[in-house]
């Protein structure tokens, strides 16, 4: 093409370079990721109920999991919504100390949640290799524990970033998105708890 040409121009130089919330492409990717993981949870839960239809008693020969630990972990996850929301709120301001406190609190709650999860697994009253029921229960809780750990690591990494001067621009958006993902972890936690503890007792 010739070096000089007359063309009308759509000038976008004035546009921002960081967006928070839905406008951010990472937000979209995060949403898609949650769709993938959500499908996995849905399928494991579906298998759980499918196997239930194939068995005369449910749980077969095992005591249902100890309710106490289920409730505890559920409660902890609900509490964790507070620091998650806080971090999300303060992210756009770019106020590093607030962000640090938010993330720190979130990471702390995650640690507690993981400890409780350990007791939860110990009190399922079944081993994964006993029967199909036990396998599904362990699969469901294991799948969620995997997400819990991932989210914990992600939070810690972002926390570390927040102590550097790189905590600005898109990194702030990442903080907000990290909280979105934590909401997902909480929701799936409540659901799996309901399936594992609730349905064996009330359904």
């Amino acid at each position: 093409m010739d070096p000089i040409r007359e063309r009308p121009v759509l000038d976008v130089s004035g546009l921002p370079t960081v967006m928070f919330g839905k406008a951010n492409t990472t937000w979209l990717a995060n949403l898609l990721y949650m769709m993938i993981e959500g499908t996995m949870f849905a399928l494991v839960v579906a298998s759980y109920f499918y196997l239930r239809t194939r068995s005369s008693s449910w749980p077969p020969g095992n005591l249902p999991p100890t309710l106490g630990w289920g409730i505890t972990s559920g409660a902890i996850f609900l509490i964790s919504l507070v620091p998650a929301r806080y971090a999300q709120r303060v992210a756009p301001s770019g106020d590093r100390s607030k962000i640090r406190w938010g993330l720190l609190a979130l990471a702390g709650v995650a640690v507690i949640a993981m400890v409780v999860r350990g007791f939860e697994l110990a009190n399922l009253n079944c081993r994964w290799n006993e029967n199909a029921y036990a396998s599904t229960v362990w699969a469901l809780l294991g799948l969620h524990t995997g997400h819990l750990i991932t989210e914990f690591i992600e939070t810690v990494v972002i926390l570390c970033v927040s102590f550097t001067d790189k905590m600005e621009g898109t990194r702030l958006a990442d903080v907000a998105i990290n909280s979105d993902y934590w909401y997902f972890v909480v929701v799936t936690a409540i659901l799996s708890d309901f399936v594992i503890y609730g349905t064996t007792r009330f359904l």
């Binding site: 000038d11 004035g14 546009l15 990717a29 499918y50 396998s135």
Partner: protein, 644 residues
């Protein structure tokens, strides 16, 4: 956004600046750092094509074993590995990576008129993880550890008791690798299509190919988790003795089939929709008119996406389901014919009311019309429960899905290759060789697979490594084997043609076919910055409907890899996003993940210990570095260019 009056746009320097900004490292290690979608897309195509050839070799070996009754060239143990690895290769290592990942990653950003795919590093990661999965399966085969329970590996045969050793475990992990890859690419493509489209390319103006890639990506996102879950269950049953599929303690063998086919049938459309997209694109170009029935076609693509999830049980009619559910799935399976029929009629109408230039790509599309239709119609037969009881798991079904997959995906794929290779390499393919390739392949294909219908009707089950003369299947099997010779010859001609054109082919120029979508607005092969001037779009076929002085996008920084992000519905510019540059970390992460997965085959602790390097590499990948966000005021060089 306000569009300025026509202004002088000095090109001087812009090209060099962009070239410098978007340059990809060279050399051995550079190869592992490249994150540009053209490079990754081509790699997906080349790699998957190599596995297509390997899978073809296995098929030839199988045909050789079946050439006559009680032929014992190949024993049952090896034969079972052959057809299992053949099936798995063609589906997981060729069809999806080629049709979805390969074409998608290469062509989507061009069609959107942007400079790279979204999340380029995730994209690169997806490629490496796919390669590892592919190697896992094939190295397994060479170490006598080839999967041998069929490409859908039904339990209990594939389970801990009946497949000792590590064969099924290799298969299951291969699944995990390839599906992770597909899912990663799905995220990249979806985001690119929804947010990176050039200003003016509203949803209503999106090329059909983009629509279809969007639908396919969404299907991947909902279908692939299913097979990952089920292959993980199988792996856990085999390695840590879970009991998902053990009937004597409440496990269930049909659970496996449900989960597998809930993925397995959408998979067919994940392979087939990209093919129809190629058809729609090519037909419009060589009928020299806009595609007829844009809205009906898009609607049917979306409808296929939904219906694809409601037909999986028709793979399980012979398990003796209750009549009710069987009827439902028959109805659904027949219903899914309608969207495909709609597309067929629209293509016919496009040709009918256009001016047909039967150039090479179009020739293959005509081959697709004739061949795929047979597969589609025998599919109608299979949808009927009583007929399925008879022909299920026979060579009739083998014929059916080869007509669907080769007819429905391979013919359009070759069409697409003859169509886009000039864009990729910058040189035209040889027309005469292309025609020879077509006719050899067309004849050989029908010779091999049409005969299989009869074999099936006369009671030859699939997956038998031999048969007795009393069955009188010899003659037809011999015919089928002869067909392989023609197909092989055809493929060889294609390869020869490719290298010849790469070396001495006629230069293609930006738009050799006079096509209308944006990828033809850049030089062939495209530079790493894709577009010197980011385009704006004015209609469904951007280049055909561009005004004489179609506005261009200005003000996207050229000193850092920056792209314009627009909103989903009407692609209004929203913000400028800086993309990550070349990096070795995706490759290292892929290696770390591979170690963890492969280790887990041999010890459950593999996941635990293997997770550590994964975390480290991920941190290395995600740790922020490089430029700080751009200042609001562009630097003087740009200032000078956009005078108001």
């Amino acid at each position: 956004m306000a569009i300025s009056e026509p202004v002088v746009v000095p090109q001087s320097g812009a090209a060099d600046r962009l070239a410098r900004t978007w340059a990809q490292p060279r050399g051995f290690w550079g190869w592992f750092q490249n994150v540009h979608h053209t490079a990754i897309g081509v790699r997906f195509m080349v790699t998957s094509f190599i596995f297509f050839l390997l899978g073809g070799v296995l098929a030839a070996m199988m045909r050789w074993q079946l050439v006559r009754p009680e032929h014992n060239a190949i024993g049952p143990d090896l034969y079972n590995q052959l057809f299992t690895v053949h099936g798995s290769t063609m589906i997981f290592l060729f069809a999806v990576p080629m049709m979805f990942q390969g074409f998608g990653v290469y062509v989507v950003p061009h069609m959107c008129g942007t400079r790279n795919i979204a999340f380029p590093r995730l994209n690169a990661f997806s490629y490496y993880i796919y390669v590892v999965g592919a190697l896992l399966l094939w190295v397994g085969l060479f170490l006598k550890t080839g999967a041998d329970a069929g490409w859908f590996a039904y339990v209990p045969l594939s389970g801990p008791e009946f497949t000792p050793g590590k064969r099924s475990d290799f298969w299951a992990q291969m699944i995990t690798f390839t599906e992770v890859s597909a899912l990663g690419v799905a995220i990249c493509i979806t985001t690119t299509i929804l947010r990176y489209r050039a200003p003016g390319m509203t949803l209503n103006r999106m090329p059909i190919l983009l629509w279809e890639k969007l639908v396919t990506s969404i299907m991947v996102i909902f279908a692939m988790p299913s097979v990952m879950v089920v292959s993980s269950m199988l792996l856990m049953d085999r390695t840590i003795n879970t009991q998902f599929f053990n009937p004597s303690v409440g496990g269930d063998v049909l659970l496996y089939q449900h989960l597998f086919w809930f993925f397995g049938h959408p998979e067919v459309y994940i392979i087939f929709l990209p093919a129809t997209a190629i058809v729609s694109t090519v037909v419009a170009v060589f009928a020299r008119r806009h595609i007829f029935g844009y809205v009906p076609i898009v609607t049917s693509v979306v409808a296929t996406g939904f219906l694809g999830f409601s037909v999986w049980v028709h793979h399980m009619f012979a398990t003796g389901l209750p009549q009710m559910s069987a009827s439902f799935f028959t109805a659904a399976s027949l219903m899914i014919v309608i969207p495909t029929a709609v597309q067929f009629y629209c293509w016919m109408a496009t040709i009918w009311h256009g001016r047909l230039q039967l150039k090479l790509p179009m020739l293959w599309i005509f081959g697709f019309f004739f061949v795929f239709l047979i597969g589609g119609l025998s599919g109608v037969m299979l949808a009927s429960v009583p007929l399925d009881w008879q022909v299920h798991d026979t060579f009739f079904v083998v014929a059916h899905f080869h007509y669907v997959l080769i007819g429905g995906a391979l013919f359009p794929m070759f069409g697409g290759m003859y169509f886009w290779i000039p864009k990729i390499t910058g040189r035209m393919m040889n027309d005469r060789l292309g025609k020879i390739h077509f006719w050899l392949f067309f004849v050989g294909f029908n010779l091999t697979f049409f005969t299989m219908h009869f074999l099936g009707l006369h009671g030859m089950p699939r997956r038998v490594y031999t048969y007795t003369p009393e069955m009188r299947w010899g003659a037809l099997n011999l015919l089928a084997t002869i067909g392989v010779v023609f197909m092989t010859a055809g493929i060889l001609v294609f390869i020869a043609n490719f290298f010849q054109s790469k070396a001495t082919g006629r230069f293609a120029g930006p738009n050799p076919w006079g096509a209308g979508s944006l990828e033809w607005a850049t030089p062939s092969p495209p530079p790493h910055y894709n577009f010197l001037e980011l385009p704006t779009v004015n209609g469904r076929e951007a280049l055909w409907e561009a005004e004489p002085n179609q506005p261009i996008v200005g003000g996207v920084r050229e000193d850092i890899p920056e792209v314009l992000v627009t909103n989903t519905l009407d692609s209004e510019p929203e913000y400028r996003d800086e993309l990550p540059g070349p990096s070795i970390w995706p490759f290292l992460t892929a290696i770390a993940v591979s170690i963890a997965f492969i280790w887990s085959i041999f010890s459950p602790w593999g996941i635990a210990y293997g997770a550590i390097p994964v975390v480290i590499t991920l941190i290395g990948w995600l740790w922020p570095r490089g430029h700080s966000p751009s200042p609001r005021v562009p630097e003087p060089a740009l200032e000078a260019r956009w005078i108001r």
